[in-house]
Symmetry: C2
Subunit: 300 residues, 2 copies
């Protein structure tokens, strides 16, 4: 069975009962698993991680809007995290047995249905958007809910679905499809923050580096070392080993060694497998050769 | 749920109906999946690959003996592959959520029950054996069925379970626990067979190399290159990357490059993950961080 991940972000991170009622509405949908949900009071925002096939996930997102729109009013909302809507952003992520194209189609169908049922304007983003100016989430969210009415009235900001003006309390929602993110950090055996910052600048997209790398240099105060802290936004096109080796090579220029690296949170198995294939110079390797996959398949 | 693999080898590879009746007897056991079975007529031998938890696998092996012992008579058996019994060898292999110790216990329980019910002498091997002279399958099987009566009468060859003489038609069975095998080959960018043979000798256990590597040098006629052909018998203790890097280093001594490597058949996911961890210098990585594992867990 295909597995798609969906990570809706909602603009409520404080009222326990409200959050719980929204999560419960999603849980009630057959075929959808709630892998995780976490709330941040200072961001006033919650993130749900769902998994399932396309049809149940679409239903789960509709149920989530049904539960969230009546109870989250952005006119009363404040928090540190930028946001545009009550349901702020909904990415669909291909995990197993499913293409990016299928996730794009799912994002568009879900967006159209959300706009129709709830009268909330929807902007498509990342892979689901054909508009280069409306691919990046930060670009779409600039000005936030408070600036949304003016933004929507300006040229180039007619939404992909729904009315050409904000929903009074629920704002607008950004729905799309993207690859899984990998939060990946490399620690350097030095306390020189300038070195971490220079390496981050050398490898990140925004300053001329790899297409799918976001990076910054930070100090780890408790350990007395510095870190290149990264988000890898497409591990197929910019693989982990390529990033690791580039950081290591850049560090050598400053006479600095790599101490270790760390993956924060989850990583798709394929990102590790491609790293092993690279090191071992494996030819013609197929994920069906993985013993556990073979055993799992035989269950069906 | 824990997953154990079991790979019984039976001394029948020609009579389709006999093989099918034995495989069917195993299939009828609830909780056991037959992942694969293959027969070789010149070896006159079949290999089944089963997966399941301990109790169903024990039942499957008892059912396999019940079906095989009455219909396979080693007095009438010939084939290229060495063999000692109608059911020749039964390894239990820990795959997921199960320890080697649990597989050792399963091998011993199954061996004792096989001896009791079918009056077949059982030798334990590999991790299940405490006797250094009776760990290696080839050592136990030396002399084959035809030499078994004399062997069993000699000092040090009282079986672990069952009668001190061969079963008249079914001989004896070797039962044990071992790690998964990885069939791993590295192709060299040269046609010099002597180089492949020297590298194989340098890395294999039998001539002073790594403890868990069997290796030989062979020529790939159709491609005009040579290969170091290996079995890795414990990827936890002698990891793939260590073997790859040792072969690469040895090849450099002869001015030869590694062309590519290949995994033949199945590989445990953990063998690939440890390779990625090594290359990326990953600290504190945990298999629970793999997205697919997290999704699968949430199903239970």
């Amino acid at each position: 069975m295909p597995i798609i991940e969906c990570v809706p972000n909602i603009s409520e991170g404080r009222r326990r009962d409200v959050i719980e009622s929204i999560v419960s509405a999603v849980r009630r949908v057959d075929g959808v698993r709630v892998l995780d949900h976490s709330s941040d009071a200072s961001h006033n925002r919650s993130v749900l991680t769902l998994a399932g096939d396309a049809a149940p996930l679409k239903q789960a997102i509709l149920s989530l809007f049904e539960a969230a729109v009546p109870v989250i009013d952005l006119r009363q909302h404040s928090g540190e995290h930028p946001r545009l809507g009550a349901v702020d952003v909904v990415p669909f992520v291909p995990i197993e047995g499913v293409t990016m194209d299928a996730c794009v189609a799912l994002a568009r169908e879900t967006g159209a249905e959300v706009a129709r049922r709830f009268n909330v304007p929807v902007y498509l983003y990342e892979e689901a958007s054909d508009n280069p100016a409306r691919k990046n989430l930060e670009d779409i969210r600039r000005g936030e809910f408070e600036g949304l009415a003016a933004r929507m009235a300006s040229p180039g900001w007619v939404p992909d679905y729904g009315p050409p003006a904000p929903h009074p309390s629920a704002g607008a929602t950004v729905i799309g499809a993207r690859m899984p993110l990998i939060a990946y950090n490399i620690n350097l055996a030095t306390d020189r923050l300038d070195v971490a910052k220079k390496i981050a600048a050398a490898i990140r997209y925004s300053s001329g580096g790899f297409r799918y790398v976001k990076a910054m240099g930070v100090r780890l105060e408790d350990r007395g070392v510095v870190q290149v802290s990264m988000n890898l936004t497409n591990y197929e096109k910019t693989p982990m080993y390529k990033v690791f080796e580039a950081v290591k090579r850049e560090a050598e220029r400053y006479g600095v060694n790599v101490l270790e690296s760390e993956i924060v949170g989850l990583v798709p198995a394929a990102a590790l497998h491609s790293t092993a294939e690279y090191l071992l110079q494996l030819a013609d390797f197929d994920a069906n050769q993985i013993l556990e996959n073979k055993i799992r398949e035989s269950k069906n």
